[in-house]
Each structure stands twice: as structure tokens, then as C-alpha cells.
């Protein structure tokens, strides 16, 4: 039985993108895209682009769909030392943005690859950027042949408030309300844990099936006390989390004081607790 006209499946047309160098008429659209994507204030954008003495408008590339700027990338030229004695003209790749309605369509690739043509004739012999390694593996690496440089830069951090942890706890409580898996994991947990972590003010969290609560003032009567001298990054962002935790416990860089039963319970909800510190 044949379909009538109304039943015909119509394949959505693949959007057409024009990749080109920024022009002054694109300014408002571009600023809006950057502001929406990176939550940059207009003051910050003016500083970053208009006030930057090295800024070169011809090094902004944009993707346009139906007259609207839906993607962009730019390069900031600068002198860069690459060894004790060599300084080169380099470009820092920055602000790769794709409008949320146009993501997942491979638009980032032509924007990134435009580096080959856009930097030509600018006397720039190297490009660099701070990029998520996963993104490099998927997109940048195969396209451009980027190499990772081991940096000697370390970030020292001291948290003055527990604002982030408080926000994460709110999110965690929301997730527990709507997520069966979280609800099941927390079902039989009822305990309070005092955290004394390097770089953080002391705090206590009270975990129960109903809600997790943060306590900053009353730090007494905790079932467990977790003291950690490790960088949180090492402990929570390691690929082999279990191994890292065991190693940290054995070397006494993480110390847990309290009953074994509660310690095992804490380990059971380890993945829930670790999101507080990410």
C-alpha cells in the first residue's frame, strides 16, 4: 500500500554553514554568542577583545547559518618564549564557541582547521592553547597534530568558604529526590562525617536518606573523621580511584577515624560524596 503525500517522511535539510573571517557587522552577534557560551560579562568581552593591544580582528573566524553567527574561534598573537634562548611569534587559540542549537554537527572542526589559512601570512610560526585532552584526542589532534607540553605550572588553592560544597549538596539532594539509584544507595546510610581537608575550612556533613546537610559551626559528635593531607585532585580525580584511596590510607595521607562499619558505609557512597569536591 503506497503512502499518500502527507505520510512521506521528509529528511531534515542539513544546515549550511559559511565559515569566514569576522567583519564589523558581526560584532553584536559574536558578542552575544560569546556571552551566552562562556557567561562573560560585556565588560570582560570589551577588555578581552577591544582593549587587548595584540588583538587582531582578522584572526577571528566565524560560522554563519542563515545570517546568524553560530560559531567562532579566535587567535591572540603574542611573543612566546619556547626555550631559554628562543622567542617565537605564536598565537593562543581561544574562545571556541558553537551555539547550543548547532552542537554535535561537526562545526568545531572547520573552525579549528581554519587556523591553517588564517594564520598564514601573519608571521606566526606556532599556535597553542589550553584544551581538554579528550577534545584534543577527538577533534584537535587528528586535525592539527597538536602535542601536549608538560607544564611546570601548579595551581595552589585555598578555599575560604564552603559555597561550592553547599551548592553541590543542594544538587545532590535534588538528584537523590529524582534518581532511584542515588536514593537506593543512600537508603541505609545515616551518619555524620567531619572533614578536615587541606585547603578547605573544616566542615561536617550529615548524610541521611532524606537529605544531606552541611554543618560549619557544630563540628562535634561526628561518626567519622576524615583527615586528608593529599591534594583533593589526586584523591578524587585519579583514574584508579580505589587504588588511590587504598594507597592514601596505607601511607596515612588520608586518615579515617571511626568505626569500621561506618567507614565501609562511607566507601559505599564514595562516588556520591566525591562529587562535592569536583
Amino acid at each position: 500500500m503506497g503512502r499518500n503525500e502527507g505520510e512521506k517522511r521528509v529528511m531534515p535539510e542539513k544546515p549550511q554553514y559559511q565559515i569566514r573571517v569576522f567583519a564589523e557587522k558581526d560584532r553584536v552577534d559574536l558578542m552575544k554568542l560569546l556571552s551566552d557560551t562562556f557567561k562573560m560579562s560585556s565588560d570582560f568581552l570589551v577588555w578581552k577583545y577591544d582593549l587587548n593591544p595584540d588583538f587582531d580582528e582578522s584572526l577571528i573566524i566565524i560560522a554563519v547559518n542563515q545570517g546568524q553567527v553560530v560559531g567562532c574561534m579566535n587567535w591572540l598573537p603574542r611573543s612566546l618564549k619556547i626555550s631559554k634562548s628562543s622567542t617565537v611569534r605564536a598565537a593562543l587559540g581561544a574562545d571556541l564557541a558553537v551555539h547550543r542549537n548547532h552542537r554535535g554537527r561537526g562545526l568545531a572542526k572547520p573552525l579549528i582547521a581554519s587556523e591553517n589559512t588564517i594564520l598564514k601570512g601573519k608571521n606566526i610560526i606556532m599556535s597553542y592553547g589550553y584544551i581538554d585532552p579528550q577534545l584534543v584526542k577527538r577533534v584537535h589532534g587528528p586535525l592539527l597534530g597538536l602535542v601536549e607540553v608538560p607544564t611546570s605550572t601548579i595551581v595552589y588553592k585555598k578555599y575560604l568558604t564552603l559555597a561550592n560544597i553547599r551548592r553541590k549538596i543542594l544538587e545532590m539532594n535534588e538528584a537523590a529526590k529524582s534518581g532511584e539509584e542515588t536514593e537506593r544507595k543512600l537508603a541505609r546510610v545515616r551518619m555524620s562525617v567531619l572533614f578536615r581537608l587541606r585547603g578547605f575550612p573544616q566542615f561536617k556533613i550529615r548524610i541521611s536518606p532524606d537529605a544531606t546537610q552541611l554543618e560549619e559551626n557544630d563540628l562535634t559528635d561526628a561518626d567519622l573523621r576524615v583527615e586528608c593531607d593529599l591534594t583533593l585532585l589526586e584523591l578524587f580525580k585519579s583514574k584508579r580511584k580505589t587504588l588511590t584511596v587504598i594507597k592514601a590510607l596505607l601511607t596515612r595521607r588520608v586518615r579515617i577515624k571511626g568505626s569500621l562499619r561506618k567507614t565501609l558505609k562511607l566507601y559505599r557512597i564514595f562516588n556520591l560524596v566525591r562529587v562535592l569536591f569536583e
Partner: protein, 269 residues
């Protein structure tokens, strides 16, 4: 004889006209790091002084006998854009005082945290941060790409001191995966310690090297081990086989001495 380093200093906030002295100290302290972006008054005025999250009250300057011996510039949100202490000065007290000033300023501004980018090699900052209860986080991954191999090689060649006058070779590098806008060949002609480069395809090279963009970049920024690793993985192909060691020797001339990379927050907003 150990010279006692001076310790006395006073802290004050930034004053108009301090810029030159701060830039001069920054350039002196960090010029030997890779990743260093030389500070000019124009660049510094933009990346620090005009930063929308920084006010002049967020720049603290340490003075000893009228000389700037350290400074820190901190955003209202608690990120330290630049932090610098004079190596000829007793660092620990100075770093501690500058860091405490930054923590107090961030607290006063209601910031959630204080963050400082520092070189791993700076033991004074490391020690003070440990003692002041700072934790350590990793720096974002830094990736780079060579766009013009010939110019990079020329730059390195200009600084090269190890000249082997016995070597006479005509090397042709076939560059794979290089952008079409870049030359696909690089000829290196070595005669009696003199090296010349050309992007023309040599007709009768004595050594042929096939290499892709990421492998040659890794080799430039890596060690001799990287070179041998690339050879073993067949990502670097050298012909004829009997000239492999000579080719590796030449390529190793074009390896950077691999200094530590340090990037202050001010350089990437």
C-alpha cells in the same frame, strides 16, 4: 661565604608609576621559563591593570630601600593574576606576607577561594603555600603546534653551539599531515658545520626522513628518548638504515633544551 639576604620590607598598594618597576621584576624573574610572554608596559597594563575583575587596590607591592622586591595582583574573585618575588631577597617572609595580604584581600572581597599559579620549581612558594594550608590542583593541559618548521629550526640553529664539522649530509624531510598552506618538504644541507635550509624537494638526498607534524613537534619539545621512541614506533622513518644514527644526531640538534613551562593566570585571562 653566604651572603645574608635582606629581609626587611614594607607592603603598600599599587601607585601610578609603579608599572615599570613591576614589569622589570617580572621579566627578570620569569624570563628563563618557556611559556614566558615578555611584559611591556602596554601588555601589562592590559592583562593586569585593566582587567575588569581587578582594581588598583588589588595590587600589593613590597618595597625595600625604595626598590620593588615583590608584588602580587589579585582579582576580586580571588585569582592571583601575577605573583613575583625577587630571588635576591629573603623569599620566605616576603612570600608569606604577600600571600597573607592576598588571602585577606580575597576574604574582604567575599571571594570563595584564593588561587595562585606558580612554577613547581619555586620551593619558597611551595613551602609557604603548604604551611598556609593551600591545596594543589593541576594546571590545564597545554597543547601546541608547529606551523612553520623551517623557521623553528632556523631559530634553534641560531642558538646551537654543538657544531660537528665532520658531517656532510643532504637531508630531505617529507612532512606528512602538514597543512597544505605549509611546505611539504624541508631540506637540510650540512657542509662542514654549516647548515642551510630549503623548502625545495632535493633530487639526490643522502638521507630521507618521513615524519608527521605531531611526531616532529614532539621531538622538538621532547628528549632524545622521544626521538628513539618515534623511530621504534615507525612514526619517524629514516632511510637508508645505515644513516639512522647520523639522522638522529642531526634531529637532536633541533631539540629545545626543554625548560620548564610556566604560565601565570594573567596570560590566559
Amino acid at each position: 661565604m653566604n651572603r645574608q639576604k635582606p629581609t626587611e620590607h614594607r607592603l603598600r598598594t599599587y601607585r601610578r608609576g609603579d608599572g615599570e618597576a613591576l614589569i622589570s621584576l617580572f621579566n627578570r624573574v620569569y624570563e628563563n621559563f618557556a611559556g614566558f610572554v615578555p611584559r611591556t608596559l602596554e601588555y601589562w597594563s592590559w592583562c593586569v591593570l585593566s582587567h575588569p575583575d581587578l582594581s588598583e587596590e588589588g595590587i600589593v607591592v613590597a618595597i625595600n630601600a625604595g626598590r620593588v622586591v615583590g608584588y602580587a595582583a589579585i582579582e576580586r574573585s580571588g585569582n592571583i593574576l601575577e605573583f613575583c618575588h625577587d630571588p635576591d631577597y629573603d623569599g620566605k617572609t616576603l612570600v608569606l606576607n604577600l600571600l597573607n595580604w592576598c588571602v585577606n584581600y580575597a576574604e574582604y572581597q567575599g571571594a570563595n577561594s584564593v588561587g595562585l599559579n606558580a612554577p613547581v620549581q619555586d620551593n619558597i612558594i611551595h613551602q609557604v603555600c603548604r604551611e598556609s594550608g593551600f591545596t594543589e590542583e593541576s594546571f590545564p593541559s597545554l597543547f601546541l603546534r608547529v606551523l612553520d618548521l623551517e623557521v623553528i629550526f632556523r631559530k634553534i640553529e641560531d642558538q646551537r653551539t654543538n657544531v660537528d664539522k665532520s658531517l656532510n649530509e643532504a637531508i630531505l624531510m617529507n612532512l606528512k599531515n602538514f597543512p597544505s598552506s605549509c611546505p611539504q618538504h624541508l631540506a637540510i644541507l650540512i657542509r662542514g658545520g654549516e647548515i642551510t635550509f630549503s623548502t625545495e624537494k632535493l633530487k639526490q638526498p643522502t638521507i630521507k626522513i618521513d615524519v608527521d607534524i605531531s611526531t616532529i613537534s614532539s621531538c622538538i619539545f621532547g628528549s632524545k628518548k622521544t626521538l628513539y621512541g618515534a623511530l621504534l614506533k615507525r612514526r619517524l622513518k629514516i632511510r637508508p638504515l645505515r644513516k639512522v644514527l647520523k639522522a638522529v644526531k642531526v634531529l637532536s640538534w633541533f631539540q629545545l633544551e626543554n625548560p620548564p613551562w610556566y604560565v601565570p593566570k594573567a596570560d590566559y585571562g
